[in-house]
């Protein structure tokens, strides 16, 4: 554990050495951890895909087409359409077929929008990336900034920021999105406001915990100044957990994108997921969930690996 200003430097040096191949044992540990992360992502994607395929396969209405409601079709045409749409595969063959398609980069076709899912995702993803990126930037700038100010300065900032976060955390994300429409504010910023209280509260607690450590008190007692103490002693201790929070906040941002994009009419992945849910386009919904899961797993793994040099 980091116990002083210079104590974290050997940790970084170890990592640098290990990455450069200077010491075989830590390098192996890094590679092992990387391999473990990749294996975990693969297992989660395969199992998640299986669960998703199961949901699609067993959901009520699977194999039923809205074409059946067309009163112009004769009984014979209806029977033919039913035969064509009827589930002819068991669950495992269905899953294998699903995986085979995925390996070829074929995400299937949206029943709702009559377009390839791959094309839909390609069209919609930039919008969500913009919203999520901006939201994360806003939440982290405000959340970490205020958390730092709250820990470093006594009283006012902590109270006011804490109060603001406490109120915001009690408002449903969808209502915050509606409030943004009411005041005609840029809807993308709503994701930032939804994430801000969570980032602030976690970051504040982590920084406050780190600031109360004995080595920080000792540094202060020796006359070290506020910013110096924060950068040298507090931030290195809270760093790995803050990085982990960064990974989790990506997942929270994608979840927040659903109500924001659906209600504020932003044509992104979140709005697409909502439309798929309302239209019961399960294949599209499962594909989207898998893509977002993969992205959040990658973000979490990146955060975890970035904190590897820290004790």
């Amino acid at each position: 554990m980091t116990s002083g200003g210079s104590a974290d430097k050997p940790g970084m040096a170890d990592l640098a050495l290990s990455l450069a191949g200077g010491e075989p044992r830590p390098a192996r540990a890094v590679v092992r951890k990387l391999a473990r992360h990749l294996a975990r992502i693969l297992v989660v994607v395969l199992l998640g895909g299986f669960l998703g395929a199961t949901l699609v396969r067993v959901a009520p209405g699977y194999g039923v087409d809205s074409e059946e409601l067309d009163s112009r079709l004769s009984a014979e045409s209806l029977r033919a359409a039913r035969r064509a749409a009827a589930p002819q595969e068991g669950l495992f063959p269905f899953y294998l077929h699903f995986c085979e398609r995925l390996l070829h980069g074929d995400l299937g076709e949206s029943r709702l929008l009559h377009m390839p899912v791959r094309q839909l995702v390609a069209e919609r993803f930039p919008e969500t990336a913009k919203s999520v990126g901006l939201g994360l930037a806003l939440a982290w700038t405000a959340g970490l900034g205020l958390a730092t100010a709250a820990v470093m300065t006594a009283g006012g900032v902590d109270l006011l920021a804490g109060l603001l976060a406490s109120v915001l955390v009690c408002i449903p994300a969808a209502v915050l999105a509606l409030l943004f429409i009411m005041v005609q504010a840029p809807a993308r910023l709503a994701i930032g406001l939804i994430l801000f209280p969570k980032v602030f509260q976690f970051a504040r607690n982590l920084l406050a915990d780190a600031a109360a450590r004995p080595h920080v008190l000792a540094a202060r007692a020796r006359g070290a100044a506020g910013v110096g103490v924060f950068l040298r002693h507090v931030l290195p201790v809270a760093g790995p957990q803050l990085l982990a929070l960064g990974g989790i906040s990506v997942s929270m941002a994608f979840a927040a994108a659903i109500p924001v994009e659906a209600l504020c009419d932003l044509p992104g992945i979140g709005q697409l997921a909502w439309q798929a849910a309302m239209g019961r386009d399960l294949a599209l919904l499962v594909d989207l969930t898998m893509i977002v899961t993969l992205l959040t797993l990658l973000a979490n793994s990146a955060a975890d690996l970035a904190g590897l040099g820290r004790p």
Partner: protein, 268 residues
């Protein structure tokens, strides 16, 4: 802090009591339409006015509060029981069972909560009766909200499994069931209680989100989520501040839960 906790508890009790007494307090049924008074402003007859179908907003708020405040704890109870059973069994069994169950829990936690929720919700029929929609919404919350709590429970059971008092009980011949019921479950009660209380505000907010998105409780049954959908007619917000009454009540209720939980944490 104690005063704030007391105020929060009194507020929660008052809201719960008012919603339970909706049959007597509410001036009308939640579904009754006053056809000659659609979109009416607040008056002595309709304290919060009427909605676009002429239904009394105050009555709907009372009945909606009852649904949200009764079913969120029910869903929390379900998820806590599931977490206790799954996490407890994994922690108690240990070995590969624990590894497999915790891997499954990790998988569950890796899926973004709202995406998972709307995916599973969409797999079930959307065009169902209001009562079935209430059941689906809250059973879904209960069934999908166990994962984080299960990890906490599993870690606790694992530490208890290796503790001195369990070893002593084992040495004196206590079997698996006796160990579980006499020694582990009583020690898990505080953890499970904490998970239960933490889940309630989370489920209230999630139901509100689902309701606003049209994936929650179906009309004409009211819930906080479906009542908040009225905020979508935002053009009238400046002229109709009473539309914010459900939001105010929801924020105050969830804040009260947070205050009570925070105080319990501090006391713990």
């Amino acid at each position: 802090m104690k005063t704030m906790r007391a105020v929060a508890l009194v507020f929660l009790a008052a809201v719960l009591a008012a919603s339970m007494a909706a049959n007597w307090i509410a001036p009308a049924s939640y579904a009754r339409q006053f056809r000659d008074q659609p979109d009416a402003a607040p008056s002595a007859q309709h304290l919060l006015g009427t909605d676009d179908l002429g239904r009394d907003r105050f009555s709907r708020l009372l009945y909606g509060t009852r649904i949200s405040l009764l079913l969120a704890p029910a869903a929390a109870l379900m998820s806590t029981v599931l977490a206790g059973a799954i996490g407890g069994a994994a922690g108690f069994a240990g070995g590969w069972i624990e590894v497999c169950v915790m891997a499954g829990t990790d998988l569950f936690l890796s899926l973004p909560w709202l995406f998972l929720l709307i995916t599973v919700r969409a797999c079930l029929p959307l065009n169902v009766s209001p009562v079935v929609s209430v059941a689906i919404t809250f059973v879904l919350l209960g069934c999908l909200g166990w994962a984080a709590a299960a990890r906490v429970v599993c870690a606790d059971v694992r530490s208890f499994r290796n503790s001195d008092f369990v070893l002593l009980a084992r040495a004196s011949g206590a079997g698996g069931a006796r160990l579980l019921m006499r020694h582990l479950v009583p020690n898990l009660a505080p953890v499970l209680a904490a998970q239960f209380w933490i889940s309630i505000p989370v489920f209230i907010l999630t139901e509100a989100n689902l309701g606003i998105l049209g994936l929650g409780v179906a009309e004409p049954l009211p819930s906080w989520g479906s009542l908040l959908r009225e905020l979508e007619s935002f053009s009238g917000y400046s002229a109709q501040p009473w539309l914010f009454a459900p939001l105010l009540l929801l924020v105050l209720t969830v804040s009260s839960f947070q205050i009570v939980l925070h105080n319990e944490e501090v006391a713990g």
